[in-house]
């Protein structure tokens, strides 16, 4: 051994020792190897049985079409979805709407989460209740509530007319704006709760330290709080995006058909046409798009990750 090594080995501090112990423990439990993933088995098996199996069935329906002889193999549904400009537009609209709703929810929801975690204290339970309450009434009644508010003779228009801010009533219902409002209304609680769950774990002393070192409130937020809570924003975005992607009742009831998304077309196939094959093909396209965007988001998080 060289002189430097011997010196180094004589300078083993408790921290080094602990790190060594932990490294050994980690290696044993295989954190860096796939063996550490053993606890995921129940979840994976459960989903294989009750998610993948139905999925495969769906996939089969979409390419094995019924025919007088018993069945034939065809990818015509997929071809139609990608070649017909109408369906391409619908796919695009679905993604665009989900992105817009997610962005709005993130911007609107973060301050509320911040308030909830930092300033609310005893009122936490009440805030959670207020966030959750809208989701507990049926969508039919929520739609009714929105029609009372946004209708031509509704509360909002009466107020705006009364204040002289507009001259003719706004036609908000039956258009894209009411769809966005309806979706944000229902999905922003998910965003708030996701962010709050992570923000709660952000050590306030880090913020205080930053301020002591001279950073203003805005800078502290931008460079300390926000990055540390990014996982919460990411979770919220994933959840909101997925939920928006799969919703159709809001488009149906609040949009009056002005916004057509893929789930709505799938619902139509069930309700009006009973063409399971086409519905399955659309479902698979939706699934593929969603999984792809999911994968992207997860990669993004990993790169920004709070791995220590």
């Amino acid at each position: 051994m060289k002189m430097s090594d011997r010196v180094q080995s004589a300078n083993i501090t408790p921290a080094h020792a602990a790190a060594a112990v932990l490294a050994q423990a980690n290696a044993r439990s295989g954190v860096h190897s796939a063996r550490g993933l053993l606890p995921v088995l129940p979840a994976v098996i459960f989903l294989l049985l009750f998610f993948v199996a139905p999925l495969v069935q769906n996939g089969t329906h979409s390419i094995w079409l019924p025919s007088p002889e018993g069945g034939r193999f065809s990818v015509e549904y997929y071809a139609k979805l990608f070649s017909d400009s109408y369906y391409v537009t619908v796919i695009g609209q679905t993604i665009l709407l989900s992105v817009i709703v997610t962005a709005i929810c993130a911007v609107l929801g973060y301050p509320v989460a911040y308030f909830m975690v930092r300033h609310a204290g005893r009122w936490n339970g009440l805030i959670i209740f207020l966030l959750v309450a809208p989701l507990l009434t049926s969508i039919i009644m929520r739609t009714f509530g929105w029609s009372v508010i946004l209708g031509r003779n509704g509360v909002l228009n009466s107020a705006l007319l009364g204040l002289g801010l507009i001259e003719r009533p706004l036609r908000l219902l039956q258009g894209p704006s009411s769809v966005v409002i309806g979706l944000v209304h229902v999905l922003v609680p998910f965003m708030v709760i996701s962010i709050a769950a992570v923000l709660k774990g952000v050590d306030q002393r880090l913020e205080e330290a930053a301020e002591l070192l001279g950073a203003g409130r805005l800078r502290t937020f931008r460079e300390v709080t926000l990055p540390l809570s990014l996982d919460g924003v990411a979770t919220g975005s994933i959840v909101v995006f997925m939920l928006a992607n799969g919703s159709f009742l809001t488009m149906l009831l609040l949009g009056g058909g002005s916004v057509v998304t893929l789930p709505l077309l799938i619902y139509q196939q069930f309700l009006l046409v009973q063409n399971l094959g086409f519905a399955a093909a659309m479902g698979n396209v939706l699934l593929a798009l969603a999984v792809f965007s999911l994968f992207l988001q997860l990669r993004l998080i990993r790169r920004q990750g709070v791995q220590r």
Binding site: S138, M141, L286
Partner: protein
């Protein structure tokens, strides 16, 4: 001294603005609900606004038209059971995934989140045929499985997010101080990820209670969830009973959250001060 006051104002002004924003936010959130509760107290025989006469008769109607309350009770049981099942299956998976750096973890993560992205109608129909084929048919068990499938992603996702953002320090310190794995899990990890488990299960419960597309195909005389019962009810009348049952659901949520707060404490959701 003046600087001190200014500093205090500098802290105070943003806080007031934040409070103001939060109040406006909640007005937005609760506005339609306000009208729903109002309508439930209406005396009219169908949903109409403005409400001129008030009465509780639609709440009494819930007592005599039993399917709505029965399906509410069923929905609550189902929501709780599926959330718990999702937590039992999902939390260990989330913990393993959050700490793993192997390539497989990314794939498994995406896989466990995938059920979020399938349209629930398709999943419902496919599961109906699947579960009927293996003999589970239209039963509580089928619904439990179906709801758990769509709940697992929520629990996994929120727990992973919280666990990753906490960092290993606490657990490492405990390990150095001699705690066993089980002790670390019970006294350190679990409390720290409490907010993740809580929010994941909360999402699971909400999704389950409001779930129409998935539950639609499993409804039967014994297994009917509230959204399906409401949909069926609305085919032929549009009366305030629907508003009443929505208000009842909110009241139940209020009571449950109150109980949780008094017993376990909702400090899961706010910073330790």
């Amino acid at each position: 001294m003046r600087v001190h006051v200014l500093r205090r104002m500098e802290r105070g002004v943003p806080r007031v603005l934040l409070l103001g924003y939060v109040l406006v936010f909640f007005v937005f959130l609760l506005a339609p609900i306000f009208f729903v509760v109002l309508v439930s107290l209406s005396d009219a025989a169908f949903v109409t606004f403005p409400v001129t006469d008030f009465s509780l008769r639609w709440y009494y109607r819930l007592l005599e038209y039993t399917p709505l309350l029965a399906s509410l009770w069923f929905s609550l049981k189902l929501a709780a059971a599926s959330a718990i099942l999702a937590a039992v299956i999902g939390v260990p998976a989330a913990l393993a995934l959050a700490r793993s750096t192997s390539r497989a973890a990314d794939v498994v993560s995406t896989f466990l989140l995938a059920p979020l992205s399938i349209p629930m109608i398709l999943l419902g129909v496919a599961l109906l045929y699947n579960l009927s084929a293996i003999g589970l048919g239209l039963s509580f068990a089928s619904l439990l499985i179906a709801h758990a499938v769509v709940s697992i992603p929520y629990v996994v996702r929120t727990v992973v997010a919280v666990y990753r953002s906490i960092g290993r320090d606490y657990e490492e310190s405990a390990a150095i101080l001699g705690a066993s794995n089980r002790q670390i899990f019970t006294y350190i990890t679990l409390p720290l990820i409490g907010s993740g488990i809580f929010s994941g299960m909360l999402f699971a419960i909400l999704i389950s209670l409001d779930n129409l597309s998935l539950s639609l195909f499993f409804g039967s005389a014994q297994t009917n969830t509230l959204p399906v019962a409401m949909l069926s009810y609305l085919q032929n009348q549009f009366d305030p009973a629907i508003a009443a049952i929505g208000t009842v659901q909110m009241a139940i949520a209020f009571v449950v959250l109150l109980v949780i707060e008094r017993t376990v404490g909702l400090e899961y959701m706010s910073s330790p001060s």
